[in-house]
Subunit: 532 residues, 2 copies
């Protein structure tokens, strides 16, 4: 059944940031000293034809863009950002970055600017809302977890006497800002874990490709094997079995995605860094492209912890234009359409009960299951636009969207419906243009895009929900989820030899590049401590 067999000490599955960091650590702490060895002591098996995983810098017509992760978050405690900064101080090559946090602009369906308004004072009440949610969960140890949507409604109901009509209305938009952090709808998001405690500013990385490429130079190039989709990990328990497999402890089967050939890789340790969504497939006996079969099956702890976690679907669209605009504000946040009737519904509410919540629910955008059959209107969803004019000086917009919009749009894109995509975002973009000061003359540059929106040259759409090696964006908490369980069970591992790393296996920096980075370091360290 296998076409060839190779042997190594440690296998890393997946060459995202977690895998890269694990390899860098293993090399620097240990294998750089082994001058005599010829065959690689570590192998990274990567299914795709590129390294980086969810770090993916794509080329557009105007510039480059990170269509996956783009920011260094929490810079007061971000170890990757610090590593990059140390290189810079030593005048070694390091990626660039820019502190792009600014005051941004919030606008609604009519294009009205909402923030920094002396009368509306939206940020002031938004702050209070966030404090309210924090205090609620602090108030009782066993405070029942509900959706973020319900927590917002609880605040609005309880404090309506201290809020203006406009504040009641627009908090239903500004509160949804949080969806763009998680890639998930506020009605699905856990009220307890939705709000994040940012530890310092964010710095936009320009670009993550440079980080990925730099890290890949810090260990031998022949450690990386692309096009290698792992499909099975078998623990060799039996002594006979081990002897017939050159005394190794693990047997890993990997399929070459170009020619379908199966290679058997014998090794002693493995660090599995595939995304949570892909790993979840291992729990069930359903064949799927990226699925890894574990023999024996994943342990009960891991199985159980997967029942208390979900996965988001952050997506991006990049809109490239052919001429500059005025505004250098980096962030433009669109609230989604808000039904005016919500004000009366809140004002007239007598009790905060199921009936009341149903009423409010019916006045807000419905959630959808993962299989979307209807046509979705992006006007109903909050969106974040990053203005490249304020970052690289190029007339491009990077738009962030979330579940269920991401799945819907990425599917349209896979069907090559780019014109449809432009058309449905057109009303929002036209409103945004007012704030950008973009006034392109009506001469078309001949592209299909510019017939829809003057000056639009190109669009690039992400593919994370469709790609079998990501299946969405990153870990997310629904009500009743507990993120600690999965990260604990995976940190404990399947066994001493079958280890896990990645953004979903760690609490500090969960979902983030630097969390994945730290988890890679952790597992490299674990193996070195126990094995060498």
């Amino acid at each position: 059944m296998t076409d060839s067999t190779i042997e190594t000490k440690i296998v890393i599955i997946g060459c995202g940031i977690a895998g890269l960091k694990a390899a860098q650590e293993l090399y620097q702490q240990k294998f750089c000293q082994d001058v005599v060895e010829t065959a690689p002591q570590v192998l990274i098996l990567e299914a795709r034809d590129r390294i980086g995983g969810r770090l993916y810098t794509v080329d557009g017509l105007n510039d480059r863009y990170d269509i996956g992760a783009a920011w260094h978050h929490d810079i007061l405690r971000n170890p990757l950002f610090q590593e990059e900064h140390e290189l810079k101080k030593k005048n070694l090559t390091a990626s660039k970055y820019i502190f792009d946090d600014d005051y941004g602009i919030i606008f609604d369906e009519m294009g009205t600017k909402l923030n920094h308004d002396k009368d509306l004072k939206l940020e002031v009440v938004q702050n209070e809302l966030e404090k309210f949610v924090e205090l609620e969960y602090f108030s009782e140890l066993e405070y029942p977890n509900t959706s973020y949507f319900k927590m917002v409604q609880k605040y609005l109901f309880r404090y309506k006497d201290f809020l203006t009509d406009a504040q009641i209305k627009y908090l239903n938009g500004s509160a949804r800002c949080i969806e763009l952090w998680h890639g998930t709808n506020w009605k699905k998001l856990s009220g307890k874990y939705a709000q994040m405690d940012h530890q310092g500013r964010n710095a936009m990385c320009l670009f993550y490709k440079d980080v990925v490429d730099r890290m890949a130079t810090e260990f031998p190039l022949d450690w990386i094997k692309l096009h290698s989709q792992v499909c099975q990990i078998k623990a060799l328990k039996d002594k006979q079995e081990r002897i017939s497999n050159r005394n190794r402890n693990l047997e890993i089967l990997t399929k070459d995605t170009k020619n379908g050939k199966i290679t058997k890789v014998l090794c002693d340790y493995v660090i599995v860094t595939i995304p949570q969504s892909v790993l979840e497939q291992s729990l069930y006996d359903v064949p799927a492209p990226g699925r890894i079969e574990f023999i024996p099956k994943l342990n009960q702890d891991i199985y159980d912890s997967f029942q208390n976690i979900h996965y988001g679907a952050l997506g991006k669209i990049i809109f490239e234009f052919d001429s500059a605009w005025e505004s250098k504000h980096t962030r433009f946040y669109y609230t989604g359409a808000i039904n005016n009737n919500i004000i009366d519904a809140v004002r007239n509410g007598q009790a905060f009960n199921g009936e009341y919540l149903n009423k409010i629910d019916s006045l807000t955008t419905p959630t959808y299951n993962n299989t979307i059959t209807e046509q979705l209107d992006p006007q109903n969803y909050p969106l974040l636009f990053v203005n490249y004019m304020g970052i690289t000086g190029k007339p491009s917009l990077v738009m962030l969207m979330q579940d269920p919009l991401t799945s819907y749009i990425e599917k349209l894109n896979a069907q090559d419906e780019k014109a449809t995509i432009c058309n449905i975002f057109k009303p929002i973009l036209l409103n945004l243009f007012k704030h950008l000061g973009y006034a392109h003359a009506n001469n078309h540059n001949g592209s299909i895009y510019s017939e829809i929106l003057p000056g639009l040259k190109n669009i690039i759409v992400s593919n994370w929900t469709i790609d079998p090696y990501s299946l969405g964006s990153f870990t997310a908490c629904y009500p009743d989820d507990d993120p600690i369980e999965l990260s604990l069970s995976l940190e404990r591992g399947q066994s001493m030899r079958i280890r896990f790393a990645g953004e979903h296996t760690i609490m500090d920096g969960a979902g983030c590049v630097y969390g994945a980075f730290e988890s890679g370091k952790r597992e490299a360290q674990y193996i070195l401590n126990n094995y060498f």
Copy 2:
């Protein structure tokens, strides 16, 4: 020695909000049921000729002003604000309030507006600084406490590579904003306790006099005795002594501040609500106007806990003008003068050590001891201006200042040097006028003030540091202070019968009106639970 003797069950010393709340609770929970009693069962002995204590609404020419506390803080958990709101909902008289939190304006010595600036991004780095301080104290259980000034310098030193020159400079101003919360200099303030975790918005109370007057109607009027300065509290330990004092447990001596007559008040319980600063005098054998002698002396716990706490000196000046201006922004924050050389000093710093800190210290405003001999220039101090045009629509400014400026200015005022005060604030006010859009024609209205500043009709200056019944503003933490100790020792009390209330006797809402309010309720409850 005593001129007369009266008898009651419970004495409350001080008729501030703590004393008022204690009386209201005692009446509502217990004494309103006693229809037969003739003599008052509770007596509030108040030294001043008015009730309210540090709640003090004064009349100006344009309007009324709270020269003491003005805001309901932390409205998500403020029980006094809630009590007022409940009355309002029942259409009973309640004081008015306005949510005056807005985006405000920050300006520097040159009058330049600093906030909401796309390039400076001062609020963004100010936020990061605050997060840094929080994380530092979280990072180790035994993190050494230092001044807030040093924490700010630590942030600037450590993160200077990520800050622009302008950010380094102006953080030295915006960070001092905190001085106006504590009434104390950043070099004296505890780094650990300086930053507050605001629980919801602030509402400006219009006016606290109405709250005070309303509360005073909720128990019999004859409970209050003004002009009654308590000078001694004696526990009657000895059985004989008690018998000769009508079987009461406590003997309290109080002096009539108008005619000097001494009254002996016999009672069983006392709640002492005098300010921390006044109570501190009881520890030492030095005569002073508001001092109460305790026989026996205050217990060792209380004595010790006073060694780990300080007191601030927030002060106010009200400037009244004769014609309106444009701006309705409520808050204008002046950063104090900032020496440009601080940028180079930070950039060139090699190590964060004593030498470095001395250098930075010498470039910033020095601290002073309480006895100020030099002339102070208000230009060197951060100040907050509240714009009444945005609150009541009257052309007045309420300015908040802090230690050591407060002591200096209040002393000038006591010497009737109002013109001097106007003169030294003139440059700052002229800069502020640009932001207010105030352009008064140069016709003087004949007052001494308007010769200094066109259109200025009147100024009103607070007196808290000089008044023997306040001696400053409210509790404050210096490095190495621990606010929990004082509030615990006072909550435990001198004994079961000698109790304490007031803003300095409670952790939740320490320093605030609502903290004092809660402490009054707590002590009334304690006596009712143990005694009745």
